[in-house]
């Protein structure tokens, strides 16, 4: 049995995706995924979207500390 995929929110950072999911671009084409765990951009300024490139730190992106997922 394949383990269910998970999406996990990291404080002031990206969403980490683990497990077997298809990531599709705006035209519905699969985005190449080369690693088991990927980080999806949550701040909107990554230069390699849909993936995170760490730039959220440079723009001081903050997530909602009282939100349901960080």
């Amino acid at each position: 049995m394949v383990e269910r995929a998970s999406i996990e929110a990291y404080v002031d950072g990206p969403l980490l995706v683990r497990g077997d999911v298809d990531i599709l671009d705006k035209n519905g084409h699969p985005v190449e995924r080369t690693r088991a765990t990927v980080a999806l951009c949550r701040c909107g300024v990554s230069a390699i979207k849909p993936f995170c490139d760490g730039t959220h730190k440079a723009v001081h992106f903050k997530t909602d500390p009282d939100g349901p997922v960080s």
Partner: protein, 362 residues
Amino acid sequence: MYSPELVRPVRFIAPPFTDRGQVSRHLLHALATPVALADDELESFQAALASALASTTDIVRDDDLQLTLFVLYGLAYGSVVDCDERWEWNTALIAGRASIESHFEEHLRAVVPQPELPASTAEAVAAALFELTSHETGPSLARFLAKKATVEQLREFLVQRSIYTLKEADPHSWAIPRLTGRPKAALVEIQADEYGGGRPERMHAAIFARTMRGLGLDSRYAAYVDNVPAVTLASMNMMSMFGLNRRLRGAIVGHLAAFEMTSSIPNRHYGNGFRRLDFGPDVTLYFDEHVEADAVHEQIAGRDLAGALAEDQPTLLADIMFGASACLTVDGWASETILEAWTSHRSSLRVPLQGFSETGMR
């Protein structure tokens, strides 16, 4: 019955580098001698070592001691000096290594700023590590590479990096069996990605070797040891010391977190520097890979590795923060040394590279 010599033939192949003083000279001579016949060389090594440790003023920039420590750790890693493998656990060499480590660690603890300690919760530790690494001054070297570096300087940069990067991830992997539970799973998740997720050609060290070859460099380990200054060896030796001493597992974990947190953005600059000089994807893949990979790793390293370790074992918190600060401090010195040389139009290397004529050849 097999004799040990039949099972493991005694061998010594002269390494592709030379000694830097009495201590490393006697060590290399000992390694070239059959273990059973090396007593005189070992005595000379121990005497030279005691004298060097008593007189060194800055062990981080001490060529002889850093090369000696690098060779001693190389017995555990392999690919440094090709000699009788029994030397790895020779008691005289282990004692020598421990005495250098003792001075090296004491020096680091005296000069590395100890950050204020956060609460021992995963989120507080991750936040403190991200805060600490946000003050890092390193990107000036990254910006120089992106905007100004010549092909010779790009080549020097790869040579400087090769001491660690051709063994990328290995120093931190020593910590895997020394952790349990969440931090262990987190470290394995990061390291599995470093090692290519089961695909040897995607192993980060292998991708870096292709980058080196793309600039005409020799990608065999230790080929450029003679060229790099002591501080570059010290950066690698510090990781090996943290990784190979179980009591320093907090420090190696903090080191990895700081390393990952200061990687994505500089790697984008490095890649841009190579693109600016018309190098293609075969050369820039290493840097582009790290922009994406380390944006994942820094999250896992901050909260799930360092944070969870501090939560599970609060007594390790100070060493986690020390390891992170030591990473920033020592790698900061290494980067400053390179940048100072380049901005005053000198080579950053101890021995400049030979045999490259730069007339736009790619």
